[in-house]
Each structure stands twice: as structure tokens, then as C-alpha cells.
Symmetry: C2
Subunit: 566 residues, 2 copies
Amino acid sequence: MPYRAPVSEFRFVLDQVVGMDQVAATDLFAEATPETVEAILSEAGKLCETVLAPLNRAGDLTPAKLENGVVRTSPGFAEGYKAITEGGWVGMAASPDHGGMGLPMSLTTAVNEMIGSACLSLQLNPLMTQGQIEALEHHASDAIKELYIPKLISGEWCGTMNLTEAGAGSDVGALRTKAERNGDGTYAVTGQKIFITWGDNDFAGNICHLVLARLPDGAPGTRGISLFMVPKFIPDENGNPGKRNSLGVVSLEHKLGLHGSPTAVMQYDGATGWLIGEEHKGMAAMFTMMNNARLGVGMQGVSVAEAAFQHALAYAMDRKQGKTPLGATAIVDHADVRRMLGQMKAETFAARAIALACAVAIDMGRATGNADWQARAALLTPIAKAYGTDIGNEVAYLGVQVHGGMGFIEETGAAQFSRDARVTAIYEGTNGIQAMDLVGRKMMDGGTAAYRLLQEIEDHASEARASLADLAGDVWAAAEALREATEWLVAQEANDRNAGAVPYLRAFARVLGGHYHLKAALADASRQPLAAFAIKRLLPEHTALIAQMREGAAGLYALTPEALAS
Amino acid sequence: MPYRAPVSEFRFVLDQVVGMDQVAATDLFAEATPETVEAILSEAGKLCETVLAPLNRAGDLTPAKLENGVVRTSPGFAEGYKAITEGGWVGMAASPDHGGMGLPMSLTTAVNEMIGSACLSLQLNPLMTQGQIEALEHHASDAIKELYIPKLISGEWCGTMNLTEAGAGSDVGALRTKAERNGDGTYAVTGQKIFITWGDNDFAGNICHLVLARLPDGAPGTRGISLFMVPKFIPDENGNPGKRNSLGVVSLEHKLGLHGSPTAVMQYDGATGWLIGEEHKGMAAMFTMMNNARLGVGMQGVSVAEAAFQHALAYAMDRKQGKTPLGATAIVDHADVRRMLGQMKAETFAARAIALACAVAIDMGRATGNADWQARAALLTPIAKAYGTDIGNEVAYLGVQVHGGMGFIEETGAAQFSRDARVTAIYEGTNGIQAMDLVGRKMMDGGTAAYRLLQEIEDHASEARASLADLAGDVWAAAEALREATEWLVAQEANDRNAGAVPYLRAFARVLGGHYHLKAALADASRQPLAAFAIKRLLPEHTALIAQMREGAAGLYALTPEALAS
């Protein structure tokens, strides 16, 4: 079952659901006309269908290997990477100042979804580089920018991000990697980093590691951390890869999924690094990179969901088993199989719309400098990340279920989607941490950004009542319930908010999903059955989620570790 | 992190929650005194902790292999199997007439849970044999019983069940395997079967295949199917393995999980078989085996849930990351981690209680012949199977999440639980088919068995109001909502019931879970926090589930395959 790029679906969601026209109306993104969008999506879609999707299984079966300190990538990955770079896809969103296309995130995010559907483990490579480019654009010196960004955009060099250490995962501030001033403006970086995605490969001319480390006079915790560019090969006077830096891959992880993506333990032994941004202010630069990556990872969830859905639907339309209510037809006509496929499609649509709405907000924030748009983007980012990756896992799970016993057999391919998707709910900040970001940092405005969004949803539902009274009424009521839940939430202590963070985020995603489905149904009547599925069968969950949120922290701590262990 | 057998938990659930005392009060199971139960659980628990649990990872890393037509099992599995047989655990529930212990299913089910927690892929082997013993006890001729059952009970021989074919999975009646009368009372069986669990091994003296096939005059569909005993080695006049039968393993599947359990494609080429039961009545005998196996598979879900929970809790109590609200303690003290662990424990308790309540009903039905107990067992079986395996997957998923990035690394072991658990929601009838059994066959009494159970739940909740008013009130109201949902359900057309089957089953499990947690909290005040978690945070989901159920089939079919594919 080959992957089919959902180009027309992207066009519909961008144009009719998330308001991409506003982006194209700005000076910054004036080039993103409907014609350009169509051309770009079609071109990227073709690459994904014909070149990248055929690599997905080979990457799973033949994982990247470490041989004598060199990472050997999966069969075909070098060619796939080359095709991605030749299309210019790495630098889509990068500034034209250094050779980027300067296209909006809304379009980049759509293209990234397709690349991820085709081959998620390869897609991680340019995704990391894109994050690095953005961090450098915002925080690096001109010299660094001019040296690195064009080569990252062209794909000649790749970028990685090095945060995690064995004792410093979610708590980045606990890191132990050290940096010392060499006296010549460079730094010597020493330490070990783990879980480094695409920590090395055999197809790029250089690997540019952005590494978090602490200077001798750095304060403990996150405030004393600095960010360094530590390239595998130190650029010579012409900017070409020169002397080998004192760093290397210690080992590659044996992972549940994403076998084609080498996840490295990296060792730095006084490796030469260049400061990015100011000393002790590394977290700010890293956050730029992580924010970008969070939306990118959320979209990875949608990538897997779309691919798993297409795969399961094709099977369900082909597999005959038993007599269905429509006769001796394929299993897609059994009610419960239709239910599973409907849920897969409804969740995928909702998560894609949320992620693209987030991307539109990022674009509008950049193009206009408007604080409301920036707050909207900040609010939607953790939801896009957590909900997108949650449903990536749920849809892949259902995809296996649709296959019945065949789903458990690796050759079928359904199980790979589940294995590959699993880590997306964990990396770039676990989904629990995303939820805590939503109820914590993103509610420091007292809920203003949330209320503004809910007001838009209610206003839209009120308008929609004229033609879709039942569905619109449900969306309006759910938005109102979420508003009340938000009012409750912002009045709580931090840990009561944290206790309810995950159910609150999911309730928020349910309401947003209902809203976007309603918009879709209004714009195109053929989408009403899917909207009805989402609003009548899935949206009602918000009530139980809000009830769970309101339970607070005390009940959780009443369940002591001793009681749990007994 | 070693597995710890939850012996005292079993004692509590059996004694205080599911009414095992009634079983021990019958003549048939008079030997199952509290002392015997304690001794058996302790003995089995020791075996699981010390002998079987250490095999689990080796089975995953070194899958069973097919070499020159012979299955080579994973390292240590032969010794593990020997230990299981020497303990007499295969024939725990089998009749003493042929060497079984004649113990109740409630106890066998508990022991099977522990063996499954320790090493699920090995546990499948005796589970299949147990099902075969039961089928033979009910349907085989005396000669077959005397020849096979003692050797199956001793573990000298193993049993398998052969239903599935490439074109006949959920639709068993579509099978093409043929049987012809040899004229000497035996039959010649020809065909290919797939997904045959433990289709062969290198430690048993014989493999006894129960094979479904159609005689030349067998009607199409399930009514024309007969069941045959087709042994790998044809027993000689002394009942010892003699001539090799014309059957063999074609290949083993490459599966997502359960690597230690060889899943075979079996080929029968005029293999000699003996009829079990009557000609054309094979499905009845097979259903005996499948009913037993359904509860067994439901308990496999609990097995994985318990093991994954213990594994995650140990990690959470050890791993330090960030400052928690209780200070610089382990991650178990972060609210969201506590929430995940609470959910894991609450679901595991509920699924175990449902499965053991089902086993008690089976025991009471057998011991008393009472039709109400039999109807109770029939009603609870699909719930125990589907909910137990659903939460097996959900708890294993949360277990990975608690581990953060380490959960994605295979060496940690958290991911194996997810991979192993996956198929339990599929085999022995997918969970969708379980739900259709619940809303179909199990409601052919007009809901009588369901209403009787709900009445008991409401009566208990009414009594519990005196001491636990809040929790009891919620359980009572949820049971009442489920009663109304059941009244709606039984009045619908078949396909509207099927459309709502999965959410209805889950709502039923939620109410049962609330009920058993309430019983536990009443019996032991230290269990109130867990009961409150289940009742205040999880039980509210029943409302949304019932709302989804009521949507019926029309909306699903409005979502056409064309709309899904567009």
C-alpha cells in the first residue's frame, strides 16, 4: 500500500479552516499565494510518494549501525536525504538572507508532515537541522551565521541538538557537561550527551552539534547554561571541513522504533566550540530551537496518523471477512471497523488543523509582531505537540486493530507505525510536560489567550447555528464548559493545575477539534459526516476530562508510593 | 527490576471483592479453602519470581526459530516449561479423573496471571493446553480422553488450537481445510492453518493439534465444520509417540512481540486425525476451548499490566529529576507521574477483579448448575477479555511514558510489555468481536443477566452510602445510567447495537471497576485513595461512552469509504 500525499486536504485545511489567507496577505509572506502553495505541496508530495516512502521499511529492517566509530545509515537513506536537500526542503522556512526560501511555517509544517508520513526516521534529520537554523538565525554571531546557515540550508551539513544527559532529561538544568574558555574566543566542551538524534551520519560533509554546557562560573540550574556550536570537523579558513574535533559517537541506542534514525551517545573531550548567544543564556537560544521542534514533533504524530490511516483503510477496503450489513463486502462495511476508521480520520483531521493553526499563528506573529498572535502560537504549541503525538499513537494502535491478526505481523507494516510513533509522545518534552506548560506558563496571562480563542470558537458556533444547529450547539456548549474549566484552573495552586494538566490539555484539544470540524463542515457539506463523528462521538469526552481535571492534586498524593507498592 | 508475585492482592480480591468463599462452600470445590489458596498462590508465585521472570527478556531477544523443520525454542524455555509442568500448574483446573487437581478457575486464573506477568510468551503454551484439556473433557470419546488428557496434564505433551486460515480469521466458517473419512474410523486432514500459537516446540514429546476442518458433506459456514485431534506423532498401541504424522511447520511469523512464542503456519497433508465430538458439530467443541481461552487472554492483559506497573513504579521511585512538590525526591512525587501510576494501578485492580469475578461465576455455574451463574459468566467473559487486554495495552503504554526517553530504549524492558500486550486485544476474537458478543448473544435474554448484575451493584452502593457516601453515590448513579443504556441497547436493531458495542463494553467495565473498587474501599480503608481515583477520575467516562453508543450505525455508514479515502 503506497503512501498518497494528501495535497488537496492540506489546501482545504489551510484555505478553509485555519485562515492561511491572512498569512499570504502579509508583506513577509506575500509570496505564499495559493498557486505557490499548490505547487510546493504537489512537488513535495511527489518526492514523498516516489522517493521517500519506499525507504521506510528498509530503515526499520536495517537500522543505522556504528562501525569503527562511523555511523552507517540505512539503505537508500543517503539518496533520500539528497533528494530532500535538492528540493530545497530543509531551508523552506529559513531566511532568504542565507539562501532559505523564506516560506511560512504553515507551509513548512505541511511539507514536514508529508515527509514524516513517508519516512519518519529520515525526516527527523532535516527537522533537527531546521531547528538549528532557526536558533542560529536568532542567536548566533554574524560570522557563525554566514559560515553555517548556508551549508545547513543546502543540506551539505546537518545539525543536531545536544541537551539530554543520563542525569538530566526533563530537568535540563541538572546537566554536567562543562565548557572552558580557551582564551582565543573558542571554548573547550567536555561531557557526555545521550539520546542525540542523528548524532552522526555518513552522507553529510559535517555534523554541527549545538551543545548545552556550563561554564566554570555558570550558576547551578538552567540559568547557568551556555550554548555552543561544536562541529564534527572544524571549518578551515575557507569554511570547509578541516581538522576532526575531539568528539565522537560512543554507541547507538537499540530502540522500539525509528530504527533508521541513529540515536547516539555523544562524547565530547575538550572539543572546540563557539558560543551561540551570550554566556549563561544558552537556554533562551535552545528554547527557540525547541519551540520550533515542538510543533514539528506534534506534526510527526499527524504524519504517522495519516500514514497509518491510509494503510488501514486500504486493508479494510480489500479484506473480505464475514457478511457485512451491506452484503458480502469488505470489512470496511462492518460497523465497528467503520467506527475505528472514522475515529482515525477524525483525530487526524483535528490534530492537523490544530498544528496548522499553530503554524499560522507563528507566521502571523512573525509577520505582524502582534502580541496576540504570538500568545496564540504559544498557547497552541503544547496542544499541537501533545495531542498530535497522542493521536499519532492512538491512530497507529487502531490501525493495527483494523488489521486483526495481520497487524501483529511485522511484514504488514502496521506495527511499525506504532513503534515509530511511540517516542513522539516523549521527546521534545514529554506530553505531561507539554500539559504543565499549558496550565503553567501559558496561563500566566490569567487565561487571556485561552479566553480569546474560546470566544472565537463560540462566535463561530453561534454563526454556524443557522445551518448546522445540532453540531454548532454542541461545540458552543463544550467551549463554554472549557471556559469555566479554565476559570477554575487559573484560580488554583500550581500543583493542582499540574494534577489536572493532561486531562485539561486533552479537553482543550477536543474543543478545538470540534471547532475545526465544524468549520470544515460549513465550508464543504461532504465533510459533515466526519464532523458529526467528531462532535457527537468524541467531543462528549470533554466532560469527563474536565471532571478529572477538577479533582486536583490532594487525591493523587493520598495515593502514597507505599500504597502504590502494596 | 524483578517481578514480585502479588499474592496478598489475590487473596484480598478473591476473599473480599469477588466472593471466592461461595466457591469454596460448594461440594465440587470444597478443597479450595483459604489455606489451600494461600499455599498454591505462594508456591506459584515463587516459581514465577525465581524461575520464569528471568526468562522473559531472553525470549524477546532470542525468538523461537525454525531450523530444518524443527522449532528451536528460546534459551531457558524448556527448563521453564519443565518447572511449570512439575508444579502441576497445567492441570490445575482439570478433572482429577485424569490426574488434574480439580481446582476452581478462580484460582487457576490467578496463577495464570502470575505466570503471564513473569513470561507471557511461555505462558501461552500451557494456556493453550489447558483449553484443549477442557475441550477434550467435554467433547472427546473416552478412548481419546484416556490417551491424551493425562499426558497433557503432566505436560509430557502440549496442545494447540488450529482455527485460523489466510481467508478465515474472524469468519471461522470460511475455512477451506478438508477432512475425509479413511474408512477405519480415522480421518485424513488436509489444509493450511495460520497463526498457530506454539505450533511446535523442542521440549514436548508430542504436539496435539485440535484442527477445524470440513467433511465433504459438511454444509458451508460454521454449521458444517468438524473438529479433529491431529497429533504430530501418531500414538502407538502403548500410547507412546509413534509414526510421524503428515503435518509440519511451514514457517514462523516475525511478530511485534511475544517473540518467545513460536507462531506457526501449519501444513496438513492428509494427516491422520480423530474426530472430537460429532461430525459437523466442531464449533461447539471449539467454543468450549475458546471460552476458556477468552478469560485466559483477558487475564494476560492483567498479567502485562501488573508487570508493567511494577516495572514503572520501581523506576519512578528511583529516578530523580527536577524538584517535586515534596522536595528533591524521585519522579513518583511529580503530580502527573503519580496520576499515571494511579491510573495504571486502578485499571489493573479493576481488570483483575472483573476477570476473577468471571472465574468465580464459571466455578459457581459448574459447581451448582445454576443458570444465573452461567449467564453471569457468559456476560462477564467478553468484558473480561476486552477490558483486560485494552488496559493491558494502556497500562504498558503508560509504563513506557513514566520511563520518559528510557522507555523507548529496548534494554529498559518497558517497551517489551507494550509489544507483547498488543496481540492480546486481537487474538481469541478481537475486542470488537468481544463487544459484539456482549451486545448480541449476551443480550438475547433481553438484558436479564445485565440487569441482575446492575441491581447487585446498586444494592451494594446503597449499603455503602452509610460510610462512603460520595463514592457510593457516584457508583450508584453510573450503574443507573448503564441500566438505562442497556434498556436502550436491547431495543435496537443488531447493527445499531454493533455500532455502539465497543463504547458500551467499556462503559460496562467502568461501572464494574467502580463497583469493585468501592467493595475494596469498604473492606479496607487503606484502599480508599485508589477507589477514589477510579471513581472520581475514571468512572465519569461512562457518560461519554454511553453518548457514543447511542449514536447508532447510520452516522457510521454516512461516512462512506469514498469519503474516508478522499
